[in-house]
């Protein structure tokens, strides 16, 4: 269970530049096994929120708790998938997937075995010895996902992982992610600026305001899991998307 309570965050100002408030009293609870999508306009502070959860940044005020314990830094209970995959360019795919395990001094054989199993799970069985630059964007992101899953985290933190992919690849990855989520029931916090993606993936959607971000609204997604066939034409899907669109469009432009 993740609790974000009264979180404020500001970028420190430098010299005569004033500090920039990024998060303004954000309150979010995420239940175990829930797939939460965080939706908001570009630059609103979604990534910052995720960095707080990852323990890469500390809130200026407020608390980030996981199962009641304050987050003080990165931990093996959380796996992160990055916007631009952040793979080690000089290492092959297997090494990249095993990275988190290597940090924990897991023996080589076990590392390799687990990494291979996860490559199977994300559909990259034959790619273990490739280097990241030899892979397409979608495959790179699959490696990033496998790397996060390899440490067997209870929570997956995903920062617009499919944002730079073409529509078809994106859809394929979304479907695989949902399949994995259904199988493993990890808690997922998924940041996106795509309304379609949020409704397609989430159990619940938190809509953030432009910067400084507040929780503007929370939506329950009234769709079953696995998603029913013909999802794109289901009234519940279409209507929620439309509602979210209207809310997003009516937001004032983010302050630059």
């Amino acid at each position: 269970m993740i609790s974000i309570r009264g979180c404020h965050y500001r970028f420190r100002g430098e010299g005569d530049r004033a500090a920039v408030p990024v998060l303004d009293d954000v309150n979010i609870e995420v239940a175990d096994g829930e797939f939460l999508c965080v939706l908001g306009p570009s630059g609103c502070g979604k990534t910052t929120l995720l960095r707080l959860l990852a323990g890469l940044a500390t809130p200026t005020a407020g608390d980030v708790l996981i199962d009641g314990t304050p987050v003080t830094g990165p931990g093996p209970d959380r796996g992160m998938v990055f916007q631009d995959h952040a793979l080690l360019p000089w290492a092959d795919v297997l090494t990249n997937v095993a990275f988190g395990l290597a940090l924990r001094n897991v023996p080589r054989d076990e590392r390799e075995e687990r990494a291979r199993r996860l490559l199977d799970a994300v559909g990259l069985s034959g790619c273990a010895s490739y280097h990241p630059r030899q892979l397409s964007g979608g495959m790179q992101q699959r490696v990033g996902l496998a790397r996060a899953l390899a440490i067997e985290p209870a929570i997956l933190l995903m920062d617009e992982p499919f944002g730079s992919l073409d529509a078809q690849t994106r859809r394929a990855l979304q479907e695989d992610l949902m399949r994995l989520h259904l199988a493993e029931r990890k808690t997922v916090v998924f940041v996106t600026h795509s309304v379609d993606e949020a409704v397609r993936l989430g159990d619940r959607i938190v809509l953030l305001s432009p910067r400084p971000a507040r929780v503007e609204a929370v939506f329950d997604v009234p769709l079953s899991r696995p998603r029913p066939p013909g999802l794109d034409s289901l009234p519940a899907f279409v209507e929620l998307k439309r509602d979210l669109w209207i809310r997003l469009k009516s937001q004032p432009r983010a302050t630059p």
Binding site: P74, F82, L87, A91, T95, F99, L101, A102, L103, A115
Partner: protein, 255 residues
Amino acid sequence: MDTPEIAAQGHAVSRLAPLGVTLVLWEGLARLLAQPAFPPFSAVLSALVTLVAEGRIFGDLISSISALALGFGLAMAVGVTVGALMGAFPQVEEVLGPYLNAGLAAPALIYVPILFTLAGTSRWTQVFTVFLYSVFSIASYTVAGMHGTSRTVTEMARAFGATRRQTLLLVVWPGARPMLMSGLRIAMAMAVKGMINGEMLIASTGLGALVRVYGSRFEIDKVLAILLVIAIVALSSTSGLRLVERRALGDALQP
């Protein structure tokens, strides 16, 4: 589709073609001009054959190569260590950075007379000339390589719980190696220059000393013959480095 073998042959031909054209032009032009300062390639080649047959060149060759190996080995040890420390610790970089930049910009030839007063005509003068010609670029390429790690990758390492030590050893250092290796190749070329320059200025042995002797007698064919030998030394030392590179690039992380 070409078989790899045919492709490799084609590759070799296309690589050797410019050399052949150059040699033919050289020969033709030199014969046409008939200048003593510009001997034809055939004369240079026969001078080389004579030098080799007389056996004189081997002592100098060995003297030069050993100074090169020793000086470059030292430069590698010091340059990589200092560069890695500068890359890892901003405080170290702040202190040493200006000296590194000054050392890079300073013409290394200046050190030769100083070394001469310290070490005389002993081989250490040559060794340290080679060292000073190459150590600064090795260090600066090492620093640049370590700074080349992208922020997203170091942030990723942190998110996965890497300590600072782990980030340096498992992320930053391996990422710096390609840049380091090209730095070593460039530094090797400078080391060869240092070797010859130092020998030309003061040494009594070595290829550079031979160049000086023959140069002062205007035996240009022999000077150029030695230049050929120097070129061969330079080429083989860089390919030697490449060999070491392939061996050395084993991976700490590889599962």
